[in-house]
Symmetry: C2
Subunit: 215 residues, 2 copies
């Protein structure tokens, strides 16, 4: 059985989205600065069908972390909101015709809809019976490989609180957002952490932990 690997970019003051989030701007004011480091990378550009980019220590790490991923998991806001961010019609999310996931991708949502198959190997499956069911389905679909959870904060908090996460990687960005959405709310203190990796670049520091339940 694979593992659930959760990775997210976070400001030094603990925010994963800036203030004044909305359906049109789910990352909040200034929140996109959390991701500046990744857009430069060769591996990111490659996953999005583009040439070039930097091949630094972050790049190696991201490239390697995608090697054994058999499915993705995310919340509805990361997919693209509810029935449709500006109306009731279902839409295909933020990620365009060829999303960068290239695997079965499970969206935790309250809005039931049929699977959405897009180009390049990404099929979105919409799971309406909670995070435990979504994780189980994603692990099943991954066929022995790992499942990557990228956010948002709400689904991640639920997975952490339920002890479903096996590996946690924070990409700590040297930046203060001052307000917004914190990752560590409603997570509790019942997880054990063992640091397994630390890679620093000027743009971001990657901290990785094994997570164990019930300490």
């Amino acid at each position: 059985m694979g593992e659930l690997k959760f990775e997210i970019s976070i400001s030094l003051d603990g925010f994963v989205a800036g203030p004044n989030q909305s359906e049109e701007n789910p990352i909040g004011e200034g929140g996109m600065r959390l991701h500046d480091w990744v857009f430069k990378l060769r591996s990111w550009r490659h996953a999005h069908g583009r040439e070039g980019g930097e091949a630094n220590a972050s790049d190696e790490l991201i490239e390697k972390s995608l090697e054994n991923i058999g499915a993705h998991l995310m919340g509805r806001n990361m997919f693209g909101g509810g029935p449709g961010p500006w109306g009731e019609e279902p839409w295909d999310g933020w990620w365009g015709e060829e999303p960068p996931f290239h695997t079965p991708t499970f969206v935790v949502t309250h809005h039931q809809r049929p699977p959405l198959e897009l180009t390049g190997g990404t099929t979105f499956f919409f799971v309406t019976d909670g995070v435990e069911a979504a994780v189980a389905q994603a692990l099943e679909a991954a066929g022995g490989k790992d499942v990557k959870l990228g956010g948002g904060a709400n689904v991640a908090q639920q997975c952490l609180a339920a002890g479903l996460v096996d590996e946690l990687q924070l990409n700590v960005v040297p930046l203060l957002l001052g307000a917004g959405e914190r990752l560590f709310e409603n997570v509790g203190a019942n997880l054990g952490l063992e640091q397994t990796l630390c890679v620093a670049t000027p743009d971001v520091t990657h901290l990785r932990y094994r997570v164990s339940k019930g300490v």
Copy 2:
């Protein structure tokens, strides 16, 4: 002129003290676990007049960071509370007859009292007109060396928000406290951070930043 260097131990979920802080237990429930890593170190034991201890990467860092310190700065809870934690009589704080600071040490408080000279070079000065005055007095007393601010959270937040901190070092402990006192509250987003050091050990990861004002 020296600089204001702020260093604090923090849980991965952003707390610098656990829940249910009180005068008797200002570090809160579980909060002492933030400091387990430091009690083992040779440099800590040496500063407290004891033999032995581990000489690892953290130890080297702490040892080096104390080299150019000419004064310390802290809040009243870190000194030992107000007029006296269990009464109105002034007392000598948490730190015993020979505190580990060995320099002039400035306490930001609302309670005026004369300087308190103890053994080993530590004299506590009580500053009642705010953090800017306290920082100015500490820098003056440091005579060109640096001033070390160790906490607590409230004074640190005031110093950060006022743009008084030149260097920030977080000692990130792989631990979730779940609740308690956050470092990053009321600090705002007007500081620029440039990471200058990252040292990881199994017990703690040290992240150091240059802080610049008004970004």
